[in-house]
C-alpha cells in the first residue's frame, strides 16, 4: 500500500506533514486579520498539501481529500462567496463590498472583521481549487 514513490519513509513522513500544512494554512487564513497572511497565501498552502498527497500517497488515499471535480467546484464556490459578500453589502444599503453595514445585528468593527474574513475564505477556496485543478489536468497520465 505505498504511493507512486514506492518508499515507506516518504509515505510516512507525508502522512505526518500534510495535516501540519493544512493546520498552518488555516492559521494563516484566520489570523491574517492581525498578522501577515491572507487568502492567497493560505490557498497556496492548502493546494500544496493536496499536491504533496497527490505525489506521495496512493491514489485511494489522496482522492479522499479532494478529487479534481471537487477542486473545480471548490474554486467556483470561492468566487461565488466573494461575489455574494459584495451583493449582501449592497442589499444592506451600502456600496458594493462596503462591509460597514454587512449585518445589521453587529457593530461596525465586527462587520469589517466578518466581511474581510468572508472574502478571504472565498479567495482561499478559489486559489486552492484552481491550483489543484491545474495540477490534476497537467499531471494526468493516459
Amino acid at each position: 500500500m505505498r504511493g507512486p514513490t514506492k518508499s515507506l519513509v516518504v509515505d510516512a513522513i507525508s502522512r505526518i506533514l500534510i495535516p501540519c500544512i493544512f493546520t498552518f494554512a488555516f492559521y494563516i487564513l484566520f489570523f491574517g486579520h492581525e498578522s501577515p497572511g491572507g487568502g492567497f497565501q493560505s490557498g497556496a498552502l492548502l493546494a500544496s498539501g493536496v499536491i504533496l498527497s497527490r505525489m506521495t500517497l496512493p491514489e485511494k488515499d489522496t482522492l479522499i481529500i479532494m478529487t479534481d471535480k471537487q477542486a473545480l467546484r471548490i474554486a467556483v464556490t470561492g468566487v461565488l462567496i466573494y461575489l455574494l459578500t459584495g451583493l449582501i453589502a449592497m442589499f444592506q444599503t451600502g456600496n458594493y463590498l462596503d462591509y460597514s453595514k454587512l449585518f445589521s445585528a453587529l457593530n461596525s468593527s465586527m462587520n469589517h472583521y466578518w466581511g474581510i474574513m468572508f472574502i478571504e475564505i472565498g479567495v482561499t477556496l478559489c486559489v486552492a481549487g484552481t491550483m489543484v485543478l491545474m495540477f490534476d489536468i497537467l499531471g494526468e497520465k493516459n
Binding site: 491572507g38 466573494y82 484552481t130 485543478l133 489536468i137 497537467l138
Partner: protein, 90 residues
C-alpha cells in the same frame, strides 16, 4: 511603411523623454508616498478597525481589485481546463 514606423518610434521616444522630467529623483518620496500613503496609514484603523494595514488595503479599501485578482486566477484555471482537460472532467 518603414519610414512611418520610424517616425512613430521617434515620436514615442520624445514623449518618454518629455515625461521623464516628472519622475521623482531616485530615493526621494514621490506623490504616492506623500499623499496616498499617509492617508492609508492614518485612516485605516479609524475606518476599517483592522490592525493589519496590508489586509485592510487588500480586502477593504481595494476589495474590487482583489475580486478581479481572484477571478483572474479562476479564469487561468478555466483556460487550462478548457485547453487541456475538457474530456477528462465532464
Amino acid at each position: 511603411m518603414k519610414i512611418k514606423n520610424l517616425a512613430v518610434l521617434i515620436l514615442f521616444g520624445f514623449v518618454l523623454i518629455f515625461a521623464q522630467k516628472d519622475i521623482p529623483n531616485f530615493g526621494e518620496p514621490g506623490p504616492i508616498h506623500e499623499k496616498i500613503n499617509t492617508v492609508y496609514l492614518s485612516e485605516t484603523y479609524k475606518k476599517t478597525h483592522t490592525k493589519n494595514t496590508i489586509t485592510a488595503v487588500l480586502a477593504d479599501w481595494r476589495g474590487v481589485d482583489t475580486l478581479g485578482e481572484t477571478m483572474v486566477v479562476f479564469a487561468a484555471g478555466l483556460a487550462v481546463l478548457m485547453i487541456l482537460g475538457a474530456k477528462k472532467i465532464k
